[in-house]
Amino acid sequence: MSDDTRETLPLATAAQVRSEVRLALKGGTWKVVGVVVLLTLGATAGLATPWALGDLVDVVAESQGAERIWLLAATIAAGALFAALFDGLGQVGATRLVERVLASTRERMVARGLALPRAALERAGAGDLVSRAGDDVAVIAESAPLVVPAVTGSAFTIATTVVGIAVLDWRFAVTALVLVIPVYVWTLRWHRRNAPQVYEAERAAMATRAQHLLASLRGIETVHAFGLARPHGKRILLASWAVSIWSVRARTIINGFFARINLAEFLGMSSILVVGFWLVREGQGSVGAATTAMLFFLRLFGPINELMFVVDELQSSLASMRRIVGVIHADEYTAAERPQPQDAAADASGIRFEYVPGHPVLDGVSLRIGPTETVALVGSSGAGKSTLAAIVAGVLDPAAGRVAGTAALVTQEVHVFDGTLRENLDLVKPGASDAELEAALRRVGAESLLNLPEGLDTGIGDRGTELTPAQAQSLALARVVLLDPPLAVLDEATSEAGSADSAALDHASAAALDGRAGLLVAHRLDQAARADRIVVMEKGRIVEEGAHDDLAAADGPYARAWSLWTKGRS
């Protein structure tokens, strides 16, 4: 195993992010155009103010009529009205567009994340995925409404203002641009060189924080029993402060960025003074023109800052977007389609599987399950039973060997989803009728669930009625009945409940397998004994196979396990 045992899900390339955004905007082109038009109109209306203020100086200097002053004030007011209207509408439109893109992207990401093959998700850790769905989505949701209007609005303001300065006297514009543009270019380059890795490190630190928090919250009972609150709290807080350290570094970069922008502003302002000075001295310009140039240039500060600042936000959002889209494009994790087996529910041959290269958990295993046959897998834990079951069920793919057929898999990990009983069941068959749901519950003997206060609409899971382990497991089996697959793989599906409820649950699993093929991973041997065929595994290989009576009579590992099992039970 390599030193770094935690893999993470991939990051998307910029091109993948672009194509994702295009996909999400598909069909909404006219909306994008509408938003751009609105924001552009807003920026134009906003120009009325400096134009009118400059004009005001002329009106006073040239002693024109007082009614002109009233007119200019009215112009400023009208400009403000239109700017507010168009800009407000444009902002709403832009935010709505961006929110829609975000929603569609995060939904695609969760859908893709859920569809990731199990091996991939377990290596990367669910925390990584949850953090991408939470923190990264939040980062973009926050910056997007700033970015879009800034780009469209500011760009237009800058363009018109520069034209305005040039119309005043081209020498103002040329001198200022020659001095200022190289500084801006240098600033952007500097930023692009330094910022991305800091933002990525900040996001990664957030993911670690989320991972530690989730682990402790999920295992809270264990944390309390073993007095782990302090070490776990410390671990979370170390991760928390690590995020802070990176945030301050990120801010340092932003500060350096703005210091460079300030330098550009100073150079631009000085150039206007010097050029104005020279023009007035040479008799080629007026003091009024210098004033207007100064006003115009002063007005550029805001939009340029905004645009430059957006570059920063954009980098930060892109880091998050790459993490989100990275999940959608995690193509290397796609599971292969499986062929259907001939005259059998499943057919696996020559299976080899390893979680860690060089450490095979399964080696040369072959297993065929007839159309309505029940096969029990027994053996010591770690023998590879669960891995074989997962491979047959299609949630893991073997490193070598062929498998045909897929199946439903129920493991000992029951998860009751936060929602109603109905929602917990019809996940496997959306739109199933009440009668179907109730029949499935009855079939596995889970009438107690039907007697919950609000029946199928009773809230269960983390925030609802707490189910007993036995109820949770019957629920899992009822899902199988509802799904009605040709083959069901039950991996110690009835073990977690403890032995007290085992009789009822054994009955339930038998009912769930009735009329279909079944693969049963069992350590309670009386359950295995009822199967059509028993397959005994040891250290990743099949060591014994046959009917219960034959194996129990033989002098093999099964016979030894059986005698231990029956001791004290009969």
Binding site: G54, V59, S63, Q91, T95, M269, S381, G382, E413
Partner: protein, 566 residues
């Protein structure tokens, strides 16, 4: 990478003032306390940001002065002096912002860390919570995003302080030039701020709804991803994705509504400040037209008027948005910090080291009917109980519940007199669903406290030798998040080894071998007694192999229940 090194976050968290939270702390009060929690960062930040804004507002003043004094006179020495003055002003505004903003962020980060400490402490508090805690995903979202939003309230003082200083400076300069103009600014600004606050009302409500819906959606994602194994086993990922899509659409609807409110807010703010500027321009123009203001003064007025819109706009917009978001998040943060602990009482007594006798007398709970049970020092007692009764007993023995009647004592003292954590170190009740944590096998079994000999002994007793042999890095093998790189049976044995390695005077195990095969189970049963030595053990199980090694077995199951095994 070369980075400026001044004012970076230190390796250890920055201490802040304690943030007091009690049962009647309101979100508003909490937000105010957060704002006042980091004075050592906030004072310098405020002063520096005021200096920054003063520098910014001096730019048009200096420029007006330069045009009047240098450009109009044609004196190169004056020009040079003006450019130098302008340079000094830019240096002032640039450096004061650089360090002011960093001080401010350090304050935010310090407070954020303190809040997260409080939230994490509450979530992990050994006293637990009364009733049931929320979804892990919702708690996660509160501990991450909401804490961040709330801590941003720290910035409500320094940034607006700078902006307010700029507005006041402009007002004063204008007052000197013309008292009417000064009056418009000094009266108009508070009026504008008032209007902005009114207009921000709907935004605050929307922002609150939106973050609740976003929390719901991210809780949904976490819940579905937690059940990933179930979903993938049943091929139900697509249906689950549909569920998430629904939650995400609700969150989207919330965002769209909030966007509308934000648009109305921003629009009306821009309109208000635009009308304000129009009024100023009108008065200034008329005064200059009357000859009360010189052209040079008019230029300054016009420059200042244009400038003042910036700080005015951000003043209400930023402070208002940050305040609204902080308030909404404060409510959610309080929903965790004000969770009541479970009802069981605790004292400060520390159990005597070593042996003790556990004694339950006439204990009554919802599922226990007058239970009498003694576990003598060194004894290993087996207990067969219905799941509900076993759960009640586990809650009593882990001191997270008290009996309705009867007493539970250790070393002759009621549980309620003991210090909770000290008692749990003495009476270790292992949850049936024991979780493993990210880290190596050794980390998980030793918990960094047990000595190596105890770990080895425990691993042997729990029959973990073959797990470690098969693991790529032996004891140093990473178990993965939630121990998911191990099989269910392997996890259960590692969890058992962890419990044994702690060597508590009384160990309570619940169905510790449900996921292992019978051969392993009987091996574990054989070794368990020896591993416990002279310490006491209470085994809640139905497994014959385990019950067989107990000194005696107590059967709590109601006799009329059918026997479940042949």
């Amino acid at each position: 990478m070369r980075l400026p090194v001044l004012l970076q976050a230190p390796a250890d968290p920055i201490p802040v003032r304690p943030i007091r939270i009690d049962a009647d702390t309101t979100p508003r009060r909490l937000t105010l306390r957060v704002m006042a929690a980091a004075p050592r960062q906030i004072w310098p930040a405020s002063i520096l940001l005021v200096m920054h804004q003063i520098g910014e507002s001096l730019v048009p003043v200096i420029m007006g002065f330069a045009i009047d004094q240098a450009v109009a006179t044609g004196d190169p020495v004056r020009l040079a002096l003006c450019v130098a003055l302008l340079g000094a002003d830019f240096a002032l505004l640039s450096y004061s912002y650089r360090f002011g903003s960093r001080f401010g962020l350090l304050g935010i980060e310090a407070v954020q860390h303190r809040l997260r400490t409080l939230v994490a402490d509450r979530l992990l508090d050994p006293k637990g919570v009364k009733g049931r805690a929320g979804l892990p995903g919702v708690s996660l979202s509160i501990a991450s995003s909401d804490v961040t939003n709330l801590a941003r309230a720290v910035s409500i003082v320094p940034w607006p302080a700078g902006e307010l200083a700029a507005v006041l400076l402009c007002g004063t300069v204008l007052m000197v030039l013309s008292w009417e103009l000064g009056l418009i600014v000094l009266l108009g600004v508070p009026l504008l701020l008032f209007i902005m606050d009114r207009a921000g009302g709907p935004l605050r409500r929307r922002s609150h709804d939106q973050s609740a819906l976003a929390g719901e959606a991210s809780g949904k994602a976490a819940d579905l991803l937690a059940g990933y194994r179930v979903l993938s086993g049943l091929g139900a990922q697509a249906a689950a994705a549909d569920r998430y899509r629904k939650a995400s659409r609700d969150a989207l609807d919330g965002s769209l509504h909030a966007a509308g409110a934000q648009g109305v807010y921003t629009g009306s703010m821009n309109l208000a400040s635009g009308l304000f500027v129009a009024g100023l321009a009108l008065v200034a123009g008329l005064r200059a037209w009357n000859g009360d203001l010189t052209i040079g003064q008019l230029i300054t007025v016009v420059g200042l008027t244009q400038f003042i819109m910036g700080p005015l706009g951000t003043l209400a917009k930023n402070a208002g948005t940050v305040w609204a978001a902080a308030l909404a998040s404060a409510e959610r943060v309080l929903s965790i910090l004000q969770l009541p602990p479970h009802d069981a009482a605790h004292g400060t007594a520390i159990p005597e080291p070593g042996d003790g006798k556990l004694s339950l007398a006439g204990v009554r709970t919802a599922n226990l009917d007058g239970l009498d049970l003694d576990v003598a020092p060194g004894e290993c007692v087996g207990l067969r109980a219905a799941p509900a009764a076993a759960a009640d007993l586990a809650a009593l023995l882990s001191a997270s519940a008290e009996p309705d009647a009867g007493t539970v004592t250790w070393q002759g003292r009621p549980f309620s007199e003991y210090d909770l954590e000290a008692l749990r170190r003495t009476v270790l009740v292992v949850p049936h669903h024991a979780a493993l944590f990210d880290g190596t096998i050794l980390d998980n079994v030793g918990l960094l406290t047990a000595d190596r000999a105890a770990v080895d002994k425990a691993l042997d007793a729990a029959d973990c030798a073959e797990i470690i042999d098969a693991a790529p890095d032996g004891l140093q093998t990473e178990v993965g998040e939630d121990g998911l790189r191990l099989s269910g049976g392997q996890r259960q044995r590692i969890a058992l080894a962890r419990a044994l390695a702690q060597e508590p005077p009384l160990l309570v195990l619940q169905d510790p071998t449900t996921a292992v095969d019978s051969v392993t189970e009987s091996r574990i049963a054989e070794r368990l007694r020896e591993a416990r030595g002279t310490r006491s053990t209470l085994l809640i199980t139905d497994a014959p192999a385990l019950l067989a090694v107990c000194d005696r077995v107590v059967d709590l199951r109601t006799p009329d229940l059918p026997e479940e095994t042949a």
